[in-house]
Amino acid sequence: MAVEAKAKETGGGETGTQFTVDDYRRAYEDMLLIRRFEEKAGQLYGMGLIGGFCHLYIGQEAVVVGAQMAMQEGDQVITGYRDHGHMLATGMDAKGVMAELTGRASGYSKGKGGSMHMFSVEKNFYGGHGIVGAQVSLGTGIAFANRYRENGAVALTYFGDGASNQGQVYESFNMAKLWSLPVVYMIENNKYGMGTSIDRASANTDLSQRGASFGIPGEQVDGMHVETMRDAVARALEHARSGKGPYILEMLTYRYRGHSMSDPAKYRTRDEVNEYRQKRDPIDHVRDILISQHGVKEDAIKAIDKRVRDTVNTAAEFAQSEPEPDPSELWTDVVR
């Protein structure tokens, strides 16, 4: 059978050696940007400046940043509604993302999409989707187009542990394998789909093996370590790009905040959250390595922190001072 042996969950230390100090610096800054951006978004939501649903990515930063470090120019990303981190990782502008959150004309979707629906043709980011599981077929379709055009690109298709139970996921798996489509299925297993823990929703909780009956190889990855993330995604991309078809990565990760802003959080204990926050934080991990293994000085770290804070504050100011869309925009973009 084509399914490869399950990779062992590895700690960051093992593969960390291949990571240069510059890699760590970049990873630190990129992850911190997502963290601070999300904290700010949470704050603006609390002030009523952001409305509707707002799903924060805090805790999961290493997943998208590690993946981005392994991607090549032209590879695409598609995800669900917990999408701010994915957008920032692809290099989309924090100002445009924040302005979309506040529903302003200069947001990525001109204020029409909001938190869950942003796109960037330039950065190959295909959204931003609100219907759980729908992006899995869409990402498979992007991969279909890649193979059709033979452009060498791979579609990274992200979805959650909860989404992994939707039927169209398996319909997509079958087609992707049948037609050897260049797609990497990126399952972000943060242990919960809303208030339902994975073991209350899934008969088999090893999501990396969900492609087994189609012969799609998969592995579990420590999603709290950016180094393991980069390595695993590099492996998966190589597999998909070389014409062998789809690959599944199940990232073991954790979201610190509630599912969305209104989450009574009665389904997990504070201790569980603190365990991750205090002992397994992906950003603390990289900061520690920078300082203890690479001798980077506290001042240099502080300089990065400040740069990130400035970027986020600028984005927040921009997002509050830009105008709302012109009323005539109500009628534009419905069809071409």
Partner: protein, 481 residues
């Protein structure tokens, strides 16, 4: 400078909440992420996490305080080296008043609808309308609308949310074949807290949390119904029922007919439908006309708690598939229902919520909030509107609408859905077919705009119907300017 901690908005529809409990005291150190307080909204109790670092300098809102508006300062946080004496200096960091915050909730959510019947109380007599027969002064008093409950029935005030829960609980007590299934219905108590307490009372056998797999569990529900059970399938919202539409239409609605009447599917598909607040295109759609298009099932869209209670009980007992379209914004609104337990309303019967002589406004579900407010404002202008609440969309009680139009000779329909092939289209057509001679003006419709729901606060407001649009339409059909 000390930072004020503000009452946070914790959900798309929250405007105020109760400060239930302080978990930190004055003098305590606070780090970002620390839980500092618990807040109760109509939906749930939630924890408030600190965003900034510091020492809790002062508590401005004591625990137990109800109705604390979003953005009101609730405490003051002192930074490094600051003391209580600095507090006076803390200018209230009034969040920059963005245009967004003024219009963040749809107009309908702003204040609850007036209790039934109170609207026409002191309306001035309408002046003679140009073409509506005898002068109002000479008109006989209207027949009062047929009451839902006999005079003297003891009533109580409950929210639509509670009415739905009570309806399910009562029917589950009465019939062991009734069970509830859906995402987050059991342990989480419902994503919108509609199934609160049901798991405790009925246990996990009858209150079933499903994986996120709408097509699968809708089909499973239909199969269970074919086998004789009476499932209530909750969709977290009807937007997600689109994943399951094949089973709802092709399996549930058609099987009775296809089997020559031998297989029934007694199943209720229910959940919030339509726009909530700022949740954008994929999460804001009214599916009434989609379902109403299809023969083989019933489609209900309740407005008040009375509708919700009486019709959900009827839906659970009905031997057919029933699509029961609720609304998130209405969940928290309070109405009267009979205090007595077994209150059931007939499916397929509209209700005249307010009698009037000059124009008939027909609506349903949340559309009723615009209709009722418009009727109240029209009364001030001397236009006496009759408001018909359809309650059931399929079968449509066109007779009640016709009866009203025979009296008023004018009709305006109101709904939040898109205009094309809407319920309004259907009513307009049926009136033309069956009451053409009674119409003194074309039937006008007030609907959501023909665009996907935009996210931006100003655009969302424009996309939804408004009370002003209803008033304009009424003026047009009554030839007022």
């Amino acid at each position: 400078m000390p930072t004020e901690i503000l009452m946070p908005a914790l959900s798309p529809t929250m405007e105020e909440g109760k400060l239930a409990k302080w978990l930190k005291s004055v003098g305590d150190n606070v780090a970002p992420g620390d839980v500092i307080a618990e807040i109760e909204t109509d939906k749930a109790t939630m924890e408030v996490e600190a965003v900034d670092e510091g020492t809790l300098g002062k508590i401005l809102v004591e625990e137990g305080t109800e109705g604390v508006p979003v953005n009101a300062p609730i405490a003051v946080l002192l930074g490094e080296g600051e003391s209580e004496s600095d507090i006076g200096a803390a200018a209230a960091p009034t969040p920059e008043k963005a245009p967004a915050s003024e219009s963040s909730a749809p107009a309908a959510a702003a204040d609850g609808p007036k209790p039934t019947g109170s609207l026409s109380a002191d309306a001035p007599r309408p002046p003679a309308a140009p073409r509506s027969g005898p002068a109002p002064a000479e008109m006989p008093d209207d027949q009062p609308a047929e009451p839902d409950v006999p005079a003297g029935t003891e009533m109580k005030q409950i929210t639509v949310r509670e009415a739905l829960r009570d309806a399910m609980a009562e029917e589950m007590r009465a019939d062991g074949d009734v069970f509830l299934m859906g995402e987050e219905v059991a342990e989480y108590q419902g994503a919108y807290k509609v199934s609160q307490g049901l798991l405790e009372e009925f246990g996990a056998r009858r209150v079933v949390d499903t994986p996120i797999t709408e097509h699968g569990f809708a089909g499973l529900g239909v199969g269970a119904a074919m086998a004789g059970l009476k499932p209530i399938v909750e969709f977290m919202t009807f937007n997600f029922a689109m994943q399951a539409i094949d089973q709802i239409i092709n399996s549930a609605a058609k099987t009775h007919y296809m089997s020559g009447g031998f297989i029934k599917s007694q199943i209720v598909f229910r959940g919030p439908n339509g726009a909530a607040a700022r949740v954008a295109a994929q999460h804001s759609q009214d599916f009434a006309s989609w379902y109403a298009h299809v023969p083989g099932h019933r489609v209900i869209q309740p407005y008040s708690a009375m509708d919700a209670k009486g019709l959900l009980k009827a839906a659970i007992r009905d031997p057919n598939p029933v699509i029961f379209l609720e609304n998130e914004i209405l969940y928290g609104q309070t109405f009267e229902v009979p205090a007595e337990m077994d209150f059931v309303l007939p499916i397929g019967k509209a209700k005249v919520e307010k009698t009037g002589r000059d124009v008939t406004i027909v609506s349903f579900g949340i559309g009723m909030t615009y209709a009722m407010k418009a009727a109240a404002e029209l009364a001030q202008m001397g236009i006496d509107a009759e408001v018909v609440n359809l309650r059931t969309i399929r079968p449509l009680d066109i007779d009640t609408v016709i009866k009203s139009v025979q009296k008023t000779n004018r009709c305006v329909t109101v709904e939040e859905a898109f205009p094309t092939c809407s319920i309004s289209s259907e009513i307009g057509y049926q009136l033309m077919e069956k009451a053409f001679d009674f119409l003194d003006a074309p039937v006008l419709r007030v609907t959501g705009k023909d665009v996907p729901m935009p996210y931006a606060a100003n655009l969302e407001k424009l996309a939804l119907p408004s009370v002003a649009e209803v008033i304009d339409a009424v003026k047009a059909v009554t030839y007022r300017t």
